[in-house]
C-alpha cells in the first residue's frame, strides 16, 4: 500500500477511541494512524507507545495502574462497567461500553459526525 495514500485515508477517518466514563462517546478527531494491534483509527492525542491505542495499551499492561497514572481511567472504566452490571442487575449497562468499544470494528459503521455515536440498537450484546 502506498504510505502517502494510507496517511491520507487516516486523515479522513475520525479517531474511534472510546471517551467518557458515564457519558460514552467516540473521540472523533482526525486520525493520524491506526493502532498496531487492533487497527482502530487513532488521533495524535490517543496514539500511545508502540503505536497502540489506549485500550490495547491498557490491556497489555500486567499490573493495574495507580489512580495517578495516565492509563488508569480506561482500566478503571472497564472494571466499573463489569462490576456495575451486577450491582444494578442491568445487562444493558455493560453493552453500552461494549457498543462503543467494538464500534470501531463494525464494518457498516459510517464514520462521520454524530453518526460516530452508536445507538442502542448497535449493541453487540443481547439484552
Amino acid at each position: 500500500m502506498d504510505p502517502a495514500k494510507g496517511r491520507e485515508e487516516d486523515e479522513l477517518t475520525p479517531c474511534t477511541v472510546p471517551t467518557g466514563f458515564f457519558l460514552l462517546g467516540l473521540c472523533g478527531r482526525a486520525s493520524v494512524a491506526s493502532c498496531a494491534q487492533c487497527g482502530r483509527a487513532v488521533c495524535g492525542e490517543h496514539q500511545e507507545a508502540d503505536g497502540l491505542c489506549p485500550e490495547c495499551l491498557a490491556a497489555r499492561s500486567d499490573s493495574p495502574p495507580g489512580p495517578f497514572d495516565k492509563g488508569w481511567s480506561r482500566r478503571y472504566r472497564r472494571d466499573y462497567y463489569e462490576r456495575i452490571e451486577n450491582v444494578y442487575d442491568d445487562g444493558g449497562w455493560y453493552s453500552r461500553l461494549d457498543a462503543y468499544d467494538r464500534g470501531a470494528f463494525d464494518p457498516g459503521d459510517s464514520h462521520g459526525g454524530d453518526d460516530l455515536i452508536p445507538d442502542d440498537d448497535t449493541s453487540f450484546v443481547d439484552s
Binding site: F22, L23, G25, G66, F68, I84, Y88, D90, D114
Partner: protein, 238 residues
C-alpha cells in the same frame, strides 16, 4: 535551601502543596488544569519517601472519583472540588457532648462528628450539571466506669453512616427514560421533570470512625443518574 531542594519544590504544583500540607483542597479547574495537578501528584507519588507524596486519602478516595468524573467534562467545562481529607479527628467537626442517663459510678457521654469531606460540581459534556456531596456522620459513645478499687475503665463505641447525595440537572428539553431495572436497595432516586429535569439520588452507606465509603460505592450511587438518559443523549464528544 540547597539548589536541588529548590529545584524539586519548583516542580510541585501549588495546589498539590495545599493538598499535602493541609489535606484540604477547594478548586474549580478545567480538565487541562486538572491534568497539571494530577501530573504533579503522580510525579511525587512515584517517589519513595517524598515529603510531597500525596496523602493516602487522596490516592484511594479522591482521585478515583475525580478522574472518573473528569472523563465526562469537556475541555472548556469546569470541575469544582471541595474536599477535606483530615478525617474525623479535628475538633471543629465534633458537635457538643451530652451526658446520657447512667447507673451510679458510670458516666456516659455522647457526641456526633459530621465530616462533609467531599463536594463536587461538574459541567458535563452533554450540557448537564452534576453535583455530588458525601458527608460522614459518626456517633461516639464514651462510657467511664470506676470500680470499687478505684480503677477507671473507658470504652468508646462508634457507629456511623455516610450520606451520599447526587443530582444531575439535564439540559433543557432532554428526555428521560425509566431504566429497565430498579436501583439497588441502598440507592433511592427521585426525578423532577420540568424545563430542566433534575434527577436526584441518595444513599446511606455504613461507615465507622476509621473506614470511609469506597469510591466504588460512591460511583455506584452516581450511576443511577446516568441510567435515566439513553446513550443517544450523550452525543457530544471531546
Amino acid at each position: 535551601m540547597r539548589f536541588w531542594k529548590r529545584a524539586a519544590k519548583r516542580q510541585v504544583h501549588p495546589l498539590h502543596m495545599g493538598l499535602v500540607g493541609r489535606k484540604q483542597l477547594s478548586v474549580s479547574l478545567r480538565p487541562a488544569e486538572w491534568a497539571e495537578l494530577i501530573d504533579s501528584l503522580a510525579w511525587q507519588d512515584a517517589k519513595r519517601r517524598s515529603a510531597w507524596a500525596p496523602p493516602e486519602e487522596a490516592r484511594e478516595l479522591l482521585m478515583p472519583i475525580v478522574r472518573a468524573v473528569l472523563e465526562d467534562v469537556p475541555p472548556d467545562g469546569t470541575l469544582q472540588v471541595t474536599t477535606d481529607l483530615r478525617g474525623l479527628a479535628p475538633q471543629d467537626k465534633a458537635g457538643p457532648r451530652r451526658t446520657l442517663p447512667a447507673p451510679p459510678a458510670v458516666e456516659r457521654t455522647e457526641w456526633y462528628v459530621t465530616d462533609p469531606w467531599l463536594r463536587l460540581r461538574a459541567d458535563l459534556r452533554d450540557g448537564s450539571v452534576l453535583d455530588l456531596s458525601v458527608t460522614d456522620h459518626v456517633r461516639h459513645r464514651r462510657t467511664e466506669k470506676r470500680s470499687r478499687s478505684g480503677r477507671l475503665k473507658i470504652k468508646v463505641k462508634t457507629k456511623g453512616v455516610a450520606r451520599v447525595s447526587a443530582t444531575r440537572t439535564l439540559p433543557r428539553g432532554a428526555a428521560v427514560r425509566r431504566p429497565a431495572t430498579p436501583p439497588p436497595p441502598f440507592v433511592s432516586v427521585r426525578v423532577r421533570e420540568g424545563e430542566r429535569t433534575v434527577i436526584r439520588t441518595d444513599a446511606k452507606l455504613a461507615v465507622d470512625a476509621q473506614v470511609r465509603p469506597t469510591p466504588e460505592r460512591i460511583l455506584d450511587v452516581l450511576t443511577e443518574l446516568f441510567r435515566w438518559t439513553p446513550p443517544k443523549a450523550a452525543r457530544r464528544t471531546s
